[in-house]
Symmetry: C2
Subunit: 405 residues, 2 copies
Amino acid sequence: MSRDIASLYAPAAAGGPPLFFPSPERPIFFNFDQGNPDPATYPLDLLERLSHEVLEEVGGDALSYFDPDTGYEELVYGFRGLRTALADRLNVRDGRDFDADNLILTSGAVQALSLAARAFAGPGDAVFIEAVTFPYASSFLAGTGAEVVAVPVDADGLDVRALDDAIAAAAARGLRPKLVYTIATFQLPTGMSMPHARRERLLELADRHDLVVIEDNVYYDLRYDGESPPTLLSMDETGLVMQSDSFSKTVAPGLRLGWMVGHPDVIGGLAAVREDLGVSQFLARVMARYLEGGHHGPQVATLQDVYRAKRDAAVTALQEHCSEYLTFRVPEGSFFLWLELGDGVDWDRAAEAVQREGVFCRPGERFTDDGSGRQFLRLAFSLPSVDEITQGIAALGRALRDSST
Amino acid sequence: MSRDIASLYAPAAAGGPPLFFPSPERPIFFNFDQGNPDPATYPLDLLERLSHEVLEEVGGDALSYFDPDTGYEELVYGFRGLRTALADRLNVRDGRDFDADNLILTSGAVQALSLAARAFAGPGDAVFIEAVTFPYASSFLAGTGAEVVAVPVDADGLDVRALDDAIAAAAARGLRPKLVYTIATFQLPTGMSMPHARRERLLELADRHDLVVIEDNVYYDLRYDGESPPTLLSMDETGLVMQSDSFSKTVAPGLRLGWMVGHPDVIGGLAAVREDLGVSQFLARVMARYLEGGHHGPQVATLQDVYRAKRDAAVTALQEHCSEYLTFRVPEGSFFLWLELGDGVDWDRAAEAVQREGVFCRPGERFTDDGSGRQFLRLAFSLPSVDEITQGIAALGRALRDSST
């Protein structure tokens, strides 16, 4: 067994398996790390009842590759009944006229991003991302051989003027501007949203340059204050916009059910690069019944109350315990606060102290490709209780005080 | 919406979305097409009870991204409890000393094959497949940029002597022989199995050339007669062999739960190229309880009885109605018969007549890369009832008689 197996890896695997932070050895009392929903919000009883109904009423077909009445397309696009129910909901929310052919079901929104990257990006293409962003998306795009260009973000999300310049610069270098990935609402990690006018300018740019736009929309419905801007998908007149979403934050991540919505030709591109046999018929049927039963509206309303209280507790605690050492903007939704450490904080010292307090926030450089972001921390307030949030941020404050100059 | 979206596809998507055969418009009375298990074999009541138990006893953690006690590794490798239960079963069956670190859970065995291709094959590599084989595997390997070399199969499966020659020829052309994909037991579509001695020679070749071996094992337990040969994985002393398997044929495909087993460094390569967040914790926990409860042995025994009867019915009907027009070998297991049409059958005419009878078998050329295999049909006997098998094969016989010279 002494073979050097890693020497046989293809370039795609050359980095080896991912490392996991925080490591299991490090005791964590206050986990502000990942965007994990609070398990207390999962509609367990409802899902159990719907699971029971599906197995009782549908029988074996609920556990087959596809519904025999729909056929093979479900091996690629997933259960048509759930696609229809999702399209119906989008038609109400986003004012579209979609049907099942506008959707592909995926293993969470993450797989939808992977398929979109593979379908539309490749060598010779320039693809544009926000300078701090969801690391999986950035990594999937880089994996296609496309050149990934980071565009600045500000309090209004992606800087569209800077994007315009970046498109021109990429074209001047002989690259084909191909795709932009944006988290237009509750940008991750900053939590900021793009105003309506900037959305219009982004879509004008996409139209002018034939840029495919991936709108990552997983936090859109988790809004605690203010008015929702229209989604990019709702404003699109070109067919170039696709929107990724999932049940992971709003229902339960253990379902592994997400989707991409867009023009059928866009969805067809994702179908073309898919390398599995679709999602679980069983879970897709459960979630179709969940939507058809009108359960999603009340569920989202509950989540808004739960997470608003957590966000408010985090903001209050940060103002009380940490305001000397860091600044932040209050996001109107999502699971995160993006904390900028003051110049007086030496993060190398502070990291040690924070760890000693058993506090874990995700380091800012995890959201950039160039190692910048070291003076930032992302604090996820979604998983801990209000009490844990208050205590954990007090502990964070102690650690920052002890390591500040 | 008049944009030409397909012109924006990356090369990986250039073929467009898959076409589906048979098309839904074509009426099918006798469906011998896909390797669909019989839904009557799914242990519905048991799965319902175990689903209930998991949700009641585990609660919210059953629907989270990962078990908080195990942590982030489950985002990539999947629920540790199921990996442990699968390793325990393999240790009994294959005489290994595996644990959870030898496995990665995947969306069916198909995703395991995709990850293995991406992890180990790339431009400059030669990868070897059986000349008639599972088309997904062949397509995934080709998608990596590796050169895919088809090696003949005979009644003993992959021709290892021809593989030896193909390895030498590839090396002579400056390629790096890297990987062999084999369905050593119940080869698809031929149904034949590789005898012990040939397995030994295959492993010697792998050892000598540092060839990674993917052993596709999804039909291994579906044996109706004869003795099981040892799996390649059970014989491996190098760490180069990985084995793909799933619950799709033995429990239910709608679970979308498969896995790859092998040396941890092999599994780490697959983890490195994974682009989703693992499998459903919920379904993985259900299936861990299923294995821990000792349910798999009785389930497989039931399947053997059900499918043996179907195979025997198909063989009897073929002998009665089709023996003038085709020949075949009787496989000791799996879901398929591989029918070779006689010289007197003009398949272009016969295809029309078979279709008119409402019979659908999968055309042989779907299992080759070079369009050969046109004088073959793959007949899947797994889904239809014994009566449908008998009637459908009688209809096939009529169609062949009407179109023979």
